[in-house]
Symmetry: none
Subunit: 223 residues, 4 copies
């Protein structure tokens, strides 16, 4: 996996109290990178330890088990994501403007944490119990969205907020999760600033298209 952005920079997602033992942080960062690149099963504790520059035993000393280490890596991802969404929500504006802001936040987050997306995806692909962990983050977001657009979006049916969420989230994710298979189609690098800006523009365009359509539907119903 190629990282357009800095490889060694401590990922935002893993920012932790500075009082943390340095070895602990090094282990988590190494683990994050490896879990994202090769998945849970594909990553061995020995490799993590090697990458972190500590002994295998140190990994177990600090995290107890491979599974717990994985959990903490995953938690860090969602913790940061929740923080960002909370900030994004704080602002003002009509539903469409808020939707744009949420889309931007999530899009930017994925730009910086593309590798984590792979982690999430690999968790969902296997039927591991970690997916509950992920669910805990998704549900509140959609519930919040439901409130934000209440009135502007039908409560039920094919254009309800659930469907819109899935569609927009899919639209954002897919660009990153399937990047490797799309390189031929998008001529030029998909992670360049220009390409990313264009994709962001598309997402705004998409949100507008959706809201326009909802408005049209409402008009038709009103008649």
């Amino acid at each position: 996996m190629q990282m357009t952005k800095s490889e060694s920079a401590p990922a935002p997602a893993s920012a932790r109290p500075s009082s943390e033992a340095p070895a602990r942080a090094k282990i988590r960062e190494a683990a994050a990178g490896l879990f994202c690149a090769t998945g849970y099963e594909g990553t061995s504790v020995a490799t993590i330890a090697g990458q972190a520059g500590v002994t295998k035993a140190a990994v177990f000393y600090h995290y107890g088990s491979k599974e717990q280490l994985f959990d903490e890596v995953l938690d860090g991802y969602y913790e940061r994501q929740r923080e960002l969404f909370t900030e994004a929500v704080a602002g003002e504006g009509d539903p469409r403007a808020r939707m744009h802001r949420v889309v931007d936040v999530y899009f930017r987050y994925l730009v910086d944490n593309r590798r984590y997306l792979m982690l999430v995806i690999s968790v969902l692909a296997s039927d591991s119990p970690h997916s509950e962990n992920i669910q805990k983050s998704v549900t509140p977001l959609v519930e919040w969205l439901r409130q934000e657009v209440a009135g502007a979006v039908p409560e039920e049916g094919p254009s309800s907020i659930e469907h819109l969420y899935v569609t927009v989230a899919g639209a954002i994710n897919h660009y990153f999760s399937h990047a490797r298979t799309l390189e031929d189609i998008f001529r030029g690098p998909m992670m360049s600033e220009e390409a990313l800006a264009e994709r962001a523009a598309h997402l705004h365009w998409l949100v507008d298209a959706i809201f326009a359509r909802i408005a049209t539907d409402a008009d038709a119903n009103a008649k």
Copy 2:
């Protein structure tokens, strides 16, 4: 990945006639299920053999290696997908109608082969060389789409066919790939016929919204 086919292998990898040794088929089916459920690394040859009711050695006798078996499973998925798209393409109608048809075909395909989607996803999540395999299937589809909607869709920019493809594909996939995390949001089972029908309706609604917006854009540009 090199396919150093063992000399004594009983059948060419790509031919899968009904005369195929029954053990071979049973192994491939068991492998498909297990690879989808627990990924490549998470599935052991012993488990596959057990599920297929054959010995471990038989797996190697028929498929040479775990990798080759995996390749054949993956190939089978894309082979069928390609067949379906070819059929879907054959029909007539305006770009929007064709788009609806393609969406329907892919959607229905995922309904029947949801587990394979997980397989594809797990391949993409890890940086395994199998993703090339997947790319080979995606590129022709988009190129075909490009021709089909030529004229109706801008050639460049945020509403170009590449972006539309990613968005629609993402919208279709996400419903299935993230189903486990979305169950709370969609009250009731997501894979019931009603729920699937509603999702299909949403996808049509989405395609219409997109085409409507493109038309609006074209009008604005024309002025």
Copy 3:
């Protein structure tokens, strides 16, 4: 632990069908020796494999786990023991004579399988679930004894068959189980043929003393 008797001779307890894979037998014999000498926890699979002249993986191939291997070793011990007792029971004579015969059989068995006694003891010392295994062998023996001496021994109270069994079994076992701490007291080797003969004579003397006392008690009661 010093073995007065042949060290390499296949122990009677491990006699198995000759169709058994030779490696399997070698592993079990090595395991038996080591488990007896150093206990379950104190014996590593690597050591067993080394002693048996096979690889570690072979041990798991043949026995699945360390625990299952241990079970089979233990089973072998009790299987043989049960066979011997069944033979001993078959004969005729009054209760005292039968008791003598059972004592002789068990005593001789311990002479040949002293190391197994250590195994049993180490199982009882830890609160492992293997002790159930042992119980299954003890209960039927006592029940049989109860029938054999019915009428000759009180059904209840301090001289009932349960107590006699415990006492005689303890008298037999202790000589072997505590041999290491008794060497100073018995001047000369405790496992020499003379020493063993003397101990056997003592056990007969003990049985006679017990039966004599039971007779005395019965006379006293009768009055």
Copy 4:
């Protein structure tokens, strides 16, 4: 086993005054319980520390090594046992009466310290050097017994004091050491006061049976 006492150890191994650091005592007590329940190999320093509510490092600080801790636990057992026997010996009466007293003392001791018996047994079962430690306690006891019953018991042969000691010790021990396998045979709990009283009565009955037989033998010899 070498006792390379670490220079900074806070207290001599044998002195155990009430002024002892409370952590030290807590560690020893936790260790005693665990060693008895799961044996030396089966007990980890981490578990001991956890049970004692101290850190692993504290165990090493106070006891230097796992072996030394084990030694002290074992020493404590025999120290108390020696004290009890010394008291029991102090009284008067004929050999038979003294024998009864010694049996009672040892029996009562085991009732209170059953778990230690398991410890001793597990030591004997493995060929660890700790068994020398045990021997040091047994030899003096038998030598004292030899003097006490001098004249009343043959000096040699099957009814000599060595054999009687082994038999009686075995009779006492077996009830406790094999309790788990005997529960089916003794209906009702083996460690209830009634059951224990009955077992004690049996032991007295046994001693009487033995002395009666010795008297009979002496009469026969005298003739």
